[in-house]
Symmetry: C2
Subunit: 335 residues, 2 copies
């Protein structure tokens, strides 16, 4: 029986500000888990460069922005280790070792990578970096000895790939690395965009950001996709596919009231504007303390850098200790 | 006009002792070049693991052996920097960055890699590490800012791959890295094995090692492939494809005498044994000072480790300086 806390690895690709989808999908969870687990939160700048290599400015500019998002939602650097991937050289070294343990054919079969290659239209010109990113991800996870990795259902093949690599490494070189498990959140499902598209995303222009002002939230909610056939207040309206209800279901704790509103809307006699005003209130009430913390942290950019610096230092200590064990196992620990 | 010496990167995969093929193909050249160039000599243990990952003991055991070979032939650690690839983390980091700049399709078209995949019988199960090794090699070369890389004709596609990566990096991120050139030795052609096979190699069992004793050299030369139809001394013999003459051409400086011997052999009346004795003398005369130096260095294994340690330290300084410039260009130099 060890009193050691289990280790979690999580993080984001710094390619833009974080939005409500990130909040409900992962950030909230991180805040909840950070005291019971040892949590490493990675700013995956190297991974962000795999498909933004021609646009490094975007990645760089996003780093501080994302850290500000983290602190604003309540990720506490005193208990969570926030660090920069590009400053942890053992990740690159372990990636190179892992590349020998996986065939090109196996990487090409990875369903997540296959999907993304199709979505991004890379075709045959897919970069070696992109094909190999599950291997880099395996290194990210295992260099910190993570037991658990919070991921969505669609990312399970990545964790399976990591587990395969760990098993192969341990079989060849002796028991050295921790085989991680996926931690899939119970409340499955992504937050849809305000336009009703399945995914909220910066490139889709359908996101509400954690850094949006109260007015921006108001403006965005007022444009939200509801029921295009609900033309008059008196008309019966559809709840299914109506983004305002989709959001209320997630963000409004007064479940009974929301159920009544749904019934009223379906009968007719309830206008979109009333509902939207309610959602604006709910969202802004949630975002207000986040905004207050942001304002506080934003005053002191030097402190932000200091937080990343300290986290990166701690992450490097852990990573170098793992790498030393890896090199010992591989018999490349000469002196 | 800079007085700075040009930089050379060279090295070997430590997978066994070095042989006469290595000597005439590269080692001799390194000794000749080391005063006019700044020469980095890499013990490519990570690369050796790409197809020996299940046999790390072999790689490890070969490292000291290869260094002893280097010192024995006269590579001088006071002017040449002998270092271990696995201890230079910037190589792994630069490799990861390069992977984004090359397509899988391009790597699959690399003629050298294609040949080796066929020769080694990897087929579809080729590892990602093997497919990507030209990218690692590009990082090896460019992290030291090498201007020149001594290679055989068959390795030219690797240097072309490196040059492509450098050009792409410099185009995207600004002029940062040195585009290397191949330095192909004038005396082309590989030293054949003692059995007449085109290539001398450990796995083929047809090699004369730099560490072979005078008796071993004698024994091996006596089994050398000559002309299987030259049964009696009086018979005319063939020079073409006769390994003894192939070796005399390379190792015996007395060109006129060798020409006379060839004519005599072709006329008939010259036995193989006479020729083989001559070759044994020539080889042992060349190997004797190498053996003497080996005996000296072998007495002090701690000194060998010290040489690698010092070289690795110097190589790391150079590599980290390049990596810092790379990260600055890529805008991932945060603090």
């Amino acid at each position: 029986m060890s009193l050691q806390k289990k280790i979690i690895l999580t993080g984001d690709r710094p390619t833009g500000p974080l939005h409500l989808g990130h909040y409900v999908g992962s950030l909230k969870n991180r805040v909840a888990l950070q005291h019971d687990y040892e949590q490493y939160v990675m700013l995956a700048d190297v991974q962000a460069l795999t498909d933004n290599f021609e646009n490094p400015e975007k990645v760089r500019a996003s780093v501080l922005e994302v850290v500000l998002d983290y602190l604003s939602v309540g990720i506490d650097p005193a208990v969570s280790t926030i660090f920069l991937q590009s400053m942890i050289s053992p990740i690159a070294e372990l990636t190179i070792f892992y590349l020998n343990l996986v065939s090109v054919a196996r990487l090409e079969r990875n369903p997540t990578v296959k999907d993304e290659i199709r979505q991004k239209g890379f075709g045959l010109q897919v970069s070696a970096g992109f094909l190999c990113y599950p291997v880099s991800q395996a290194a990210d996870i295992t260099i910190f000895g993570a037991h658990l990795v919070p991921v969505g259902q669609d990312q399970l093949p990545m964790i399976e790939q990591t587990a395969e690599l760990v098993r192969k490494f341990n079989r060849i070189y002796g028991d050295t690395l921790v085989e991680p498990e996926a931690l899939v959140p119970e409340t499955a499902g992504r937050l849809p965009g305000i336009d009703g598209k399945a995914k909220m995303g910066k490139s889709l222009g359908n996101a509400i950001y954690l850094s949006d002002s109260a007015d921006e939230v108001k403006r965005k909610v007022m444009t939200m996709y509801t029921d295009p056939e609900h033309l008059h207040v008196a008309d019966p309206g559809k709840v299914e596919g109506n983004m305002v209800f989709a959001y209320l279901d997630i963000f409004d704790d007064r479940v009974d009231e929301v159920a009544e509103l749904k019934a009223h809307y379906q009968r007719g006699g309830l206008g979109d504007v009333v509902l939207k005003k309610r959602l604006i209130e709910v969202l802004n009430a949630m975002l207000d303390p986040i905004r207050a913390r942001r304002a506080l942290f934003a005053q002191d950019p030097a402190q932000l850098l200091e937080i990343i610096k300290k986290g990166t230092e701690k992450a490097n200590n852990t990573a170098h200790a793992t790498l030393a064990r890896v090199k010992e196992a591989m018999k490349i620990d000469y002196f």
